[in-house]
């Protein structure tokens, strides 16, 4: 009985929200909200674990495949909000390598959905095109069958020219696999080549210097300008194309970033590993959202969830996840970020030994300040 009630309420809600005036109004409200959000701090890189499609299907007594379809619809809506609000990179966990352990029927259905939705998403004039987003598939390609691979390549090819935003679809992906393959490619670069001309060596050094300089320039403080990562990466490539073209051993990853041979082992750093991950040229992860109330990372973005990423676990199934769930998270994040920026500014001020008596700004960013006071 409760399940049919849920189904009915879902249906009435849908019917209600599809009424023209209601639809128009909600669209207007959404637009205003997004316009407002754009005025404040916005995460540059958001990741979603789209968990709960199956449980949602079971709860509302619909086919599992239908649950996944609804999940995709929810994703499309969220993507639209993200891109409108100014998020640069959205990463979604679509399919884990572990998911191959599920029933063949479901895996096949998921593959089919992926195939259809990928071509739908990347169609000319559809969502991704509208917001100038390019699609990237992160993961272990060899595990996918030929048909799906073709669909992936077509989607990537179609949206290649878009450069305002990125949609990362993790499809067969696990983070451990990602880290392992990063280590693998670094190791591959460290294997010495026997045939190395004198001239080439000097050229490599020059190129290495260029790259090292660029690396040093990478913003360590995340607040600065995360988008400069990408420009840095592109300058690495375009900086000295002649020298780089002659490199004896190099590795060009799918984002187009070239990696040079590693001569000095001590030069390997966290940044080196970061640069070999699938998300190499993306800004640092600001926000990770997992639905369905499961409080685990489940092998997703392990390396990327490092220092300052806010991890949010929400107790709702992914198909139910909408603006009204997402908005409070974004606002909460914005508040935290504002406070953080203000503290940074305060620190700077104190460093310069200027006015230490800073009248604390009154207003809306004070929640956590008052919290601290209370706990003390």
């Amino acid at each position: 009985m409760p399940s049919s009630g849920l189904r009915n309420s879902l249906r009435t809600r849908r019917w209600f929200s599809s009424l023209p005036p209601i639809e128009w109004l909600s669209l207007r409200i959404q637009e205003a909200l997004i316009g407002a959000l754009r005025q404040g701090p916005i995460p540059q890189h958001v990741a979603f674990v789209m968990d709960g499609n199956r449980r949602f299907a079971r709860q509302s007594h619909i086919e599992t495949t239908e649950g996944h379809n609804l999940g995709f619809e929810a994703l499309a809506k969220i993507l639209e909000i993200c891109y409108k609000a100014g998020v640069k990179v959205v990463t979604v966990y679509a399919f884990s390598i572990e998911n191959f352990k599920r029933s063949k029927y479901e895996v096949d259905a998921l593959m089919d959905i992926a195939k259809i939705k990928l071509s739908q998403l990347s169609q000319h004039g559809d969502l991704l095109d509208r917001y100038g987003a390019k699609i990237r598939i992160l993961g272990h390609r060899s595990l996918v069958n030929q048909e799906v691979l073709e669909a992936i390549d077509r989607a990537m090819e179609l949206t290649k020219h878009n450069n305002k935003a990125i949609l990362n679809v993790c499809f067969p992906y696990t983070s451990r696999d990602e880290i392992t393959s990063a280590i693998q490619s670094i190791v591959a670069l460290a294997i010495p080549t026997k045939m190395k001309g004198r001239q080439l060596e000097t050229l490599t050094e020059e190129a290495a210097e260029a790259i090292d300089c660029a690396h040093e320039g990478f913003p360590q403080s995340r607040s600065e300008s995360p988008s400069s990562n990408t420009t840095m990466a592109s300058t690495i490539v375009s900086g000295s194309p002649a020298a780089l073209a002659l490199l004896p051993r190099e590795h060009v990853d799918f984002t187009g970033v070239r990696h040079k041979e590693i001569v000095d082992l001590e030069s390997i750093s966290e940044q080196t590993v970061t640069d070999h991950l699938f998300t190499a040229d993306n800004p640092p992860l600001d926000l990770l959202i997992r639905t369905s109330g499961v409080e685990r990372l489940s092998d997703f973005m392990l390396w990327q969830v490092h220092q300052d990423t806010d991890v949010e676990f929400i107790d709702c199934m992914w198909p139910e996840f909408d603006v009204w769930h997402f908005l409070p998270i974004l606002l909460g994040w914005g508040l935290k970020r504002k406070r953080f920026l203000r503290e940074m500014k305060l620190d700077d001020e104190q460093k310069h030994n200027r006015g230490s008596t800073w009248a604390k700004e009154l207003g809306f960013g004070e929640v956590n300040g008052s919290q601290n006071k209370k706990t003390v």
């Binding site: 451990r176 880290i179 280590i183 460290a190 082992l265 390997i268 080196t272 300052d308 991890v311 409070p328």
Partner: protein, 321 residues
């Protein structure tokens, strides 16, 4: 007559041209379209730029105002939630208190059908304000673990301050265990990766190879990403000497190496912070770890520990005993 005859073919040819050649067709159609189109094309930019500043200014002002309202609502909501959670947490901490008796803790966890074998916690140096408090927390939580029957506790502290006080921590924790259990307290070993472990006679009575009742591991930021980087360096060195190829690097190898270098995968991670921030926690090991935190909680308390265990066992918590 003759003129009349001459006209039709001329029209026919122009028509034909007009319909075949797209440019000519466009030119032909243009004659019939309203002229304004062109004018608006040229005029629009200037009128737009004239009317835009005010309009955009108003729009931005409106959006900023709306954002301010939204932030105010959020902050109000967060405050209310904070008060609610604060009262709830206090209530829980009054209801559930260990009274330094292992039996009470055992009674609390008796009904749980599964317990983490490896518990991990994150403590913050700055927030706790000094090593003394940190060690005190470690000692206290160690006692709870020993009472509940959790054999491994790893303590993550970003700066690595705890690692310098392994013997002190061991002494204080043993004293605390003594005050909980009395004379036959559980055996304890405190260790940190790459540092000699400290058992201080605790494992003397134990046969060789048997582990003590409780193992406390101190980890810090250098056991996180840095350990992976170090492993990469080692592997690269081997590769440069030709002892290793790309294909030899497998997930199993990395996993085994990292486990021996730092800590095994924890089952449960408890954060004593109001939101989930991992602060550089070892990334490889946290794969399937259940992460627990209480929203708006800022204190290290027994109720957090207990609620984490209940949550881990998927067990509803009864109010009261």
């Amino acid at each position: 007559m003759s003129t009349r005859r001459q006209v039709p073919p001329a029209i026919a040819t122009t028509r034909k041209q007009e319909f075949e050649d797209p440019k000519a067709r466009a030119a032909y159609v243009k004659k019939f379209l309203p002229k304004q189109e062109q004018e608006t094309d040229t005029d629009e930019p200037s009128t737009r730029s004239r009317s835009r500043p005010i309009r955009t200014f108003i729009r931005i002002a409106f959006y900023k105002f709306l954002l301010w309202i939204l932030f105010s609502i959020t902050s109000l909501y967060l405050r209310i939630r904070y008060v609610k959670n604060f009262i709830l947490n206090r209530w829980f901490s009054i209801l559930y208190y260990h009274h330094k008796t292992p039996e009470l803790i055992q009674k609390d966890v008796k009904q749980l059908d599964r317990l983490p074998q490896h518990l991990s916690i994150i403590l913050e140096f700055e927030k706790e304000g000094g090593v003394e408090t940190l060690i005190d927390h470690v000692a206290e939580i160690s006692c709870w673990c020993a009472s509940a029957g959790i054999p491994t506790l790893s303590v993550y502290e970003q700066t690595g301050a705890l690692k310098k006080y392994i013997s002190t921590s061991h002494r204080i924790t043993s004293q605390r265990l003594h005050s909980y259990f009395g004379k036959n307290r559980p055996t304890l070993r405190v260790l940190a990766p790459h540092l000699p472990s400290y058992a201080n006679g605790d494992t003397e009575g134990l046969p060789d190879g048997e582990s003590p009742d409780l193992e406390v591991i101190f980890i810090s930021e250098e056991d996180g990403r840095e350990s992976i980087v170090d492993l990469t360096k080692t592997l690269c060195e081997m590769a440069s000497r030709g002892k290793m190829t790309k294909e030899d690097v497998t997930m199993e190898l990395v996993d085994a190496e990292l486990e021996s270098l730092t800590i095994p995968e924890p089952d449960l991670l408890i954060l004593f912070s109001p939101s989930v921030k991992l602060l550089g926690y070892p990334p490889w090991q946290i794969r399937l770890t259940e992460i627990f935190h209480l929203p708006d909680n800022d204190a290290v308390g027994y109720q957090v520990f207990l609620r984490a265990l209940y949550n881990y066992a998927k067990c509803e918590m009864r109010f009261g005993r």
